[in-house]
């Protein structure tokens, strides 16, 4: 490259490239008279940075001297659980991540899959649990902002968001304000940014009293030949800082998210970032514009651990060194130290390696959008991460060991003890079927989420084919005919009882929800939320769930292309339910053929695809009607899951059915109610033969769908040929859910109960 291409920068002629400053001996690092004194490195300071004694010993061995304060901060940012995946990495490696349609698996900002026509889907889910508990609005908002950035960093325009939220018991004094703040934050960011939030889930359980979960998923569309990656290439390339200015917010955010909470959670508010969706929208448009102008070699968003993590990842992945000159970093406040700049998690910032001859063009685009643009460093051939500030070297570290060669742990783990299956005949029904249905449909677990999703703009961009409330959202791609089906699922109570089966079930349910709208499931993103991995029983949950997810993903051809791990979701030693959220993406060839769950007309046969064995262990019925959280969860027969799902997809494709719904929480009767309520059409149902009625109607056996059809005989013939179990439950019609011999439950009354609970709860005090 020619000198003229790099105004203000220096040319490398092989070997190490340095700024023209006096050579600094390593023992004088950080001791420049220009720099204020830094604190001494004491065991207390090391512990405050979340570094264990053995990790600190490793640092000393690696660099051969005491680290500077800035270096200690950099290590704490890179080696914490959140950024390094040190406890989960060896287990995550067992997951299936490839398929002919996978363009990019885990390891980049987001996963990428091919959907034909030269288009790719870019998607990922990520947690923002700890910040959201401390500061619900900003925590949730910046969670959405972070995941959107991950997607458009890769060159994709975001087309949809989803989220999975877990809150404590409704009676806990903090729950209501957390729900209000998190939902407003998710909406506040996504609505302003201008992406539809089309789906997700909300749950309440006392085990989230001290740690709520906010898992946000973003989905974008890119052209397959215009996908951008984070690995830098080329020596002496300018590294450019783009977006908002750096402030003192979010310092140590990633470290905070890598520790459990004690009584001091409230004091951690300054570690939470503040979101600015307006800047993010400008950043999106500016980034897509300079990508289209072919200016970008590599790009990385500044998320967790901000400038540190983004610069190290770009260099480490490209096998290059990086030199940063912090004097060039646009700052919001004066007098920021190198330590603060390196650890700030100010939002809406990007780091890019630009093509040197396109620098002026890129700068003009950013200026047009009113965003900061500054050359803050360059790539070097040294594999060192060198940080200068105020005329001194503040850090000089080996980049690979900081980044992709960070420590990895094989932590001891203990498998969760297997629970005995519960015999349905042993469960006495405390309520009539009608009373139980009315109770469940109005429960915090199963009631309508309208109060939540109406605060999210779910129609912007004009492509939302199926809005929230169905099995999966359906979003058209451009003007069609293709569309994506999107869902987020997990059943934490199953995972708690049996992490392996629970992990399988989370994947199977996501897969099922995509099939239920007629989409072919393509790939998933996982967001693994667990407690403290240093406890063997928690580590056992993580290991078991990952095994289950891997098993299901292999059998269902549903690879994992991106993900996130959130550990230390504990307060005072009490952990959350293991919550491995699965975000699924499927493809419809024709959006006008997507299937919905509402009954379409009276007089149609109601059919059950799959078996009804009355599995009550860990069911909502057993917990919320019988007051027992017990037993083994329903086992997932993945071969049956696959057979039944593909069968339903064929029925939809061939136009043989008029409605389809996955059977999950609450079993068949709750699923039927969910099909009846939006249609205001009832159902006339026969009493089941064989097993106890309450187990038949409320059991949670897996691999099941309810469908309606005008010609059930044709479907019965196909089912027989495909060896898929099929049962005729009854017929649509009337104004009530009417089981033979039971009190009919009017659909409009059911609907009133269904819609009542959440708004009534949220209108309560506090």
């Amino acid at each position: 490259m020619a000198a003229a291409c790099l105004p203000g920068w220096w040319i490398i002629s092989g070997g190490r490239r340095d700024l023209p400053l006096p050579k600094v001996e390593s023992d004088k690092i950080g001791r420049s008279p220009l720099i204020r004194n830094e604190p001494a490195i004491t065991p207390e300071l090391i512990a405050q940075h979340g570094l264990k004694p053995d990790e600190y010993a490793r640092i000393i061995k690696l660099i051969g001297r005491t680290p500077t304060f800035t270096e200690l901060g950099i290590f704490s940012a890179m080696w914490n659980e959140h950024c390094s995946y040190k406890s989960s990495k060896i287990h995550l490696r067992t997951l299936p991540t490839t398929a002919p349609w996978v363009i990019q698996g885990p390891g980049e900002n987001a996963g990428v899959i091919d959907i034909g026509d030269g288009l790719a889907v870019v998607f990922k889910m990520e947690s923002h649990n700890h910040p959201s508990y401390i500061e619900p609005y900003q925590g949730a908002a910046t969670g959405v902002g972070g995941i959107l950035r991950d997607v458009f960093t890769m060159g994709a325009r975001p087309i949809a968001c989803l989220n999975a939220l877990s809150f404590g018991d409704p009676s806990h004094p903090k729950t209501r304000s957390l729900v209000a703040g998190v939902v407003a934050g998710v909406g506040g960011y996504g609505n302003s940014f201008g992406v539809p939030t089309v789906g997700g889930e909300v749950r309440f359980h006392r085990r989230y009293d001290g740690n709520c979960l906010v898992n946000a998923m973003a989905v974008g569309i890119a052209e397959t030949d215009k996908i951008f990656y984070s690995a830098a290439s080329g020596v002496g390339m300018p590294i450019v800082y783009l977006g908002s200015k750096t402030g003192r917010d979010g310092i140590h955010g990633a470290s905070m998210a890598s520790a459990e909470f004690g009584a001091d959670a409230e004091e951690k508010r300054p570690t939470v970032q503040v979101g600015d969706p307006f800047s993010e929208k400008l950043l999106l448009e500016a980034c897509l514009e300079i990508m289209a102008a072919d200016c970008v070699i590599a790009i990385q968003d500044m998320g967790a651990a901000g400038l540190t993590c983004s610069a190290v990842e770009m260099g480490a992945k490209g096998d290059l060194g990086v030199t940063l000159d912090l004097d060039q970093v646009p700052c919001r406040e004066t007098g920021m130290s190198a330590y603060e700049m390196m650890l700030s998690e100010s939002q809406e910032r990007m780091l890019m390696v630009l093509k040197p001859d396109k620098e002026k063009q890129a700068e003009a685009i950013f200026r047009k959008w009113g965003l900061d643009f500054a050359v803050v460093g360059h790539t070097t051939p040294t594999k060192r991460f060198l940080v200068r500030h105020g005329g001194a070297v503040m850090a000089d570290l080996p980049i690979k060991e900081l980044g992709d060669e960070a420590p990895v742990y094989d932590r001891p783990f203990r498998d969760t003890a297997a629970k005995a299956a519960i015999d349905p005949a042993s469960v006495k029904p405390p309520l009539t079927l009608a009373d139980a249905l009315e109770k469940l449909i109005a429960s915090s677990e199963l009631c309508s989420r309208r109060w939540v999703f109406e605060q999210y703009d779910h129609v912007i961009l004009g492509n939302t084919v199926q809005r929230p409330g169905g099995d999966a959202a359906v979003v058209r791609i451009n003007e069609g005919p293709k569309a994506l089906a999107l869902t987020a699922d997990v059943t934490p109570r199953y995972c708690e009882a049996d992490p392996f089966e629970g992990g399988k079930q989370a994947v199977a349910e996501a897969w099922r929800n995509l099939n239920a709208v007629g989409a072919k499931p393509l790939a998933l993103t996982d967001n693994l939320n667990f407690g403290n991995p240093e406890r063997p029983e928690i580590m056992g949950q993580l290991v078991g769930a990952i095994r289950g997810i891997g098993e299901a993903a292999r059998v269902l051809d549903f690879p994992i292309v991106s993900g996130n791990v959130s550990l230390y979701n504990e307060t005072n030693g009490s952990a959350i339910l293991p919550t491995p959220t699965i975000g699924g993406v499927g493809l419809l060839d024709d959006f006008t053929k997507s299937m919905t769950l509402a009954f379409k007309a009276a007089g149609q046969a109601i059919l059950l695809v799959g078996e009804a064995n009355g599995w009550l262990g860990q069911s909502v019925y057993l917990r919320d009607v019988c007051g027992r959280e017990e037993g083994a969860p329903p086992p997932v027969d993945l071969a049956a899951e696959r057979r039944h799902g593909e069968f339903v997809r064929v029925l939809i494709r061939d136009g043989l059915i008029t409605a389809a719904h996955d059977v999950s929480d609450g079993g068949i009767l709750v699923a039927l109610a969910e099909m009846a309520m939006p249609a205001k059409i009832g159902a006339v149902l026969a009493a089941p033969p064989g097993i106890p009625a309450h187990a038949f109607w409320f059991g949670e056996d897996q691999a099941r769908y309810l469908v309606t059809a005008p010609d059930p005989d044709a479907i019965a013939r196909l089912a027989k040929a495909a060896t898929v179990p099929l049962a005729r439950l009854g017929v649509t019609g009337g104004r009530a859910i009417a089981i033979d011999g039971e009190r009919p439950v009017p659909v409009d009354e059911l609907r009133t109960r269904f819609e009542h609970w959440l708004p009534a709860y949220m209108a309560g005090p506090g």
């Binding site: 609505n191 201008g194 307006f278 084919v465 959006f591």
Partner: protein, 233 residues
């Protein structure tokens, strides 16, 4: 119909609007940058779309109302040019002095996205000629500040002069507090200026224009405008 869609930083429904205009008028609109001082020559319809111009910081629409392009829009409106201002556009139009009143936070203090029913009050305007008076249409809203408020005199004038074009209503066309999701005075969803050439409304007809996507209740507004210009030509 030659239309121009204004693009302010933070506006985010400009693509939805551009698509609706293209599908119904057969002609893609010009996208006009906020810093421009002039509208494209021959512009017949100016659209101020929805979104969060300047992040809705300060007050919704307050900053955009002072952008350079708004002088051109005021000049265009003063000469009788048609201006369609939707959602954030309605807020901008009020802040710019093109329409009276102000959009306050929704009565429930929450952002609301849902389909609502609108009663079309008049069909004898360029904006509503595609509907019948009294017709009820179903279109989405998506806003946190859509609660229309003005002083008593202004409201009396708006009502007396027939300048309320759309009102939130029940599915059978009755004005009812249960169907007025944001608490707007007199259930006002959309109004025109004195001259009748500037319409501001909170709902999004541009999101209900394709039969394949389900509903087409929003088409009438755009089809009526196309028809208006065709007859004028």
């Amino acid at each position: 119909m030659k239309s121009a869609v204004l693009v302010f930083p933070g506006i985010n429904r400009e693509r939805d609007m551009a698509r609706a205009l293209r599908l119904i008028s057969g002609r893609a609109p010009a996208m006009v940058w906020h810093a421009d001082a002039e509208l494209p020559s021959g512009t017949e319809l100016v659209v101020i779309p929805g979104g969060f111009s300047y992040g809705d910081y300060l007050r919704c629409g307050a900053i955009a109302a002072r952008a350079p392009i708004m002088d051109a829009v005021r000049g265009f409106a003063a000469k009788g040019g048609l201006v369609l201002a939707i959602c954030n556009g309605f807020q901008i139009a009020c802040e710019a002095g093109l329409l009276p009143g102000v959009l306050m936070r929704n009565a429930q203090l929450r952002f609301i996205c849902r389909d609502v029913y609108l009663r079309v009050e008049r069909s004898d305007t360029p904006f509503t000629r595609g509907y019948n008076a009294g017709q009820v249409i179903r279109v989405p809203v998506a806003h946190g500040e859509g609660n229309y408020i003005a002083d008593g005199e202004t409201i009396a004038r708006l009502e007396g002069e027939g300048r309320v074009l759309f009102r939130y209503a029940s599915p059978d066309g009755m004005v009812d507090p249960n169907w007025n999701h944001n608490g707007a005075m007199n259930a006002i969803a959309g109004i025109i200026n004195e001259r009748g050439n500037v319409l501001g409304m909170m709902p999004h007809p541009e999101n209900h224009v394709e039969a394949s996507m389900g509903r087409t209740d929003g088409r009438g507004l755009f089809a009526g405008l196309v028809d208006h210009f065709r007859r004028a030509a």
